[in-house]
């Protein structure tokens, strides 16, 4: 890329993020309620219980945190490019709550236990996110103008409110067991990550991430407006279809697995854009790495801050993201 914003070579930025992610993995792998020091795992042979905890609980959880973080932040970057708007984010636009409502419906209406139930949740999440995305997309067409922005945010607000209301209704009619399942899932937590969930995520999320990275050049061109982008060789409708499918699949699966983890898709791409510039060829992979890093760190904090109890990680990201979003709105107001 010619002249990135920081004057920082692209590869160096990505390498730095990869190194930070590896460090966070090491930190996360050996912290938690059950202290598993590196010496225990590498030097002294671990006890069967240590090994069981590490293999069956911690490893799938780390994997899931990495994939979900990468997907949420990557889809935030892609949606911001698609809507040509820095405030587009899967949770603000209602995609996550649309997926959430569909997953809740699945849990209440069908038997959601076992691997089949889990993959049914994936499908429900995908379809819920897709339906919301199509509605929002129709409303938000028209570029980066203030009017389109307000329409987008209001549409997101309406969908979030509606999904909340229907979610409440579902909770009202759910059985005790379903209610327990709903509330555990709805808090936005990775606490129930086991191998079936991690394998499902491994199956769905990396292809979606790869697909989004392939859209980088098209997303760059789209920033010129559809007419100019067409003149530069972009098939805009095809690009939109690809981005919408990849983000809704990814976000739907993330919500099905971990509930609603807010603001990651807003926070990470926005910070990285300030550092690395708006080019998606760099921004998309950097956001994915940054999102994975942030969720991994947030999840480690969620596991350890109140140990042996756990804080839902969605709560932590919202505590971080909410004030940041307000600050962002104030900055925009000032610049207008």
């Amino acid at each position: 890329m010619i002249g990135s914003h920081s004057g920082f070579p692209d590869r160096q930025a990505l390498n730095g993020l990869v190194l930070a992610l590896l460090a966070a993995w090491l930190l996360a792998a050996f912290s938690g309620s059950l202290g598993l020091s590196p010496r225990l795992l590498l030097g002294d042979w671990p006890t069967p219980l240590d090994w069981q905890v590490w293999w069956q609980l911690r490893l799938p959880r780390l994997l899931l945190a990495t994939l979900v973080g990468a997907m949420l932040a990557g889809s935030g970057a892609a949606m911001q490019g698609l809507f040509r708007n820095p405030l587009a984010d899967p949770s603000l636009l209602g995609l996550a709550s649309g997926a959430g409502l569909a997953v809740a419906l699945w849990i209440v209406l069908f038997d959601a236990s076992g691997p089949l139930g889990l993959y049914g949740q994936f499908a429900a999440g995908f379809l819920g996110a897709l339906a919301v995305c199509l509605v929002v997309f129709r409303l938000g067409r028209g570029g980066p103008g203030q009017e389109a922005l307000f329409t987008l945010l209001l549409a997101g607000l309406a969908i979030n409110t509606l999904a909340g209301a229907f979610g409440g209704l579902l909770a009202f009619v759910a059985s005790d067991e379903q209610l327990r399942q709903l509330s555990l899932w709805g808090m936005g937590s990775l606490a129930h990550a086991l191998w079936p969930a991690a394998l499902g995520a491994l199956l769905c999320i990396p292809p979606a991430l790869w697909w989004l990275c392939r859209c980088a050049r098209g997303l760059d061109l789209l920033q010129l407006g559809e007419l100019t982008a067409h003149g530069a060789g972009l098939d805009a409708p095809a690009l939109k279809r690809r981005v919408v499918l990849a983000t809704t699949l990814g976000v739907g699966v993330c919500v099905a697995l971990a509930g609603i983890i807010g603001f990651l898709g807003l926070l990470v791409p926005h910070c990285l854009r300030l550092w690395l510039g708006p080019g998606h060829r760099l921004l998309l992979p950097a956001s994915m790495l940054g999102g994975a890093l942030l969720l991994l760190v947030a999840d480690t904090l969620a596991r350890t801050l109140a140990s042996p109890a756990e804080i839902p990680v969605g709560l932590l990201t919202s505590l971080l993201g909410g004030p940041y979003f307000l600050w962002l709105l104030m900055q925009r107001r000032r610049s207008c």
């Binding site: 890329m1 010619i2 002249g3 990135s4 914003h5 040509r84 708007n85 820095p86 570029g143 980066p144 760059d220 061109l221 920033q223 010129l224 407006g225 007419l227 100019t228 982008a229 067409h230 003149g231 530069a232 060789g233 972009l234 098939d235 854009r273 510039g277 708006p278 080019g279 610049s335």
Partner: protein
């Protein structure tokens, strides 16, 4: 060469069928009142909106049959008053959508007097500077412009001061005369069209009502009727089309 073979739109915004050819080295100005169909015509020429009747061909091949990437190397477009989203630097923006190397980017920047602004971000630029960036980007996309390449511009001078207007129109004329580009430019300023274009197409209500050299098309009487404005002609120099002045 770009050819129009009875090409037009039947649905709104409609455009009456049009047949003509744009030869390499030709600068055509499209003029007409608001809502006359100038931008619609540019959409037809660029292939953004495929014709609902007739054909638009580049080098005897319908625009729809070109691969988008191959077409992008032969045809570039500068849309009306585009403000790209996000804060690109001028250099990043000019390089967007092209396979040109740093040398070509630098050349395009220099052609539009943007070298000094290359590392500035778009937020810090005036409307006119941003407009020049978009023109530089289109030039870069054409990689300098092989003869017969097509450059389409929708009101490229609308935010420029008169000095920049003159420099841009001189550049467009030079691109046509010296590099053999076919340049099509929607203009509101009839005097710019008269001064720099080889041919002028006059549009009214979705129809081209006149086409030819500026001296033939831009008569004060016809324009007064088309635009509903009272105009005077002021002689400038022998052999040059007269300047058009609004009556007080």
């Amino acid at each position: 060469m770009l050819t129009l073979e009875g090409a037009g739109f039947t649905t709104v915004p409609s455009l009456a069928p049009l047949s003509d050819a744009l030869a390499p080295g030709e600068l055509v100005a499209i003029v007409g009142p608001n809502g006359a169909g100038k931008s619609t015509l540019l959409g037809l020429l660029s292939g953004f909106r495929p014709p609902e009747q007739g054909r638009v061909c580049l080098d005897a091949r319908s625009l729809a049959d070109w691969l988008p990437e191959a077409l992008a190397r032969r045809r570039a477009l500068v849309a009306q008053q585009v403000r790209p989203s996000f804060d690109w630097t001028v250099r990043e923006l000019v390089a967007l959508g092209s396979e040109a190397g740093p040398a070509q980017v630098a050349e395009s920047l220099a052609e539009l007097d943007l070298t000094a602004l290359a590392e500035r971000t778009l937020t810090g630029l005036s409307g006119g500077e941003a407009q020049r960036c978009m023109v530089a980007r289109a030039l870069c996309q054409l990689d300098g412009g092989d003869p017969g390449s097509l450059l389409l511009l929708d009101e490229p001078t609308s935010a420029l001061d008169i000095g920049q207007q003159q420099r841009l129109m001189r550049l467009l004329r030079r691109l046509a005369d010296q590099r053999g580009l076919a340049v099509v430019c929607v203009l509101h300023d009839l005097n710019l069209a008269a001064r720099y274009a080889h041919r002028v197409w006059l549009m009214q209500q979705g129809r081209r009502i006149a086409a030819g050299p500026p001296g033939e098309v831009l008569g004060a009487g016809r324009l007064a009727h088309v635009f509903g404005a009272e105009l005077h002609e002021a002689r400038v120099a022998d052999g040059e089309p007269p300047a058009l002045v609004l009556a007080r």
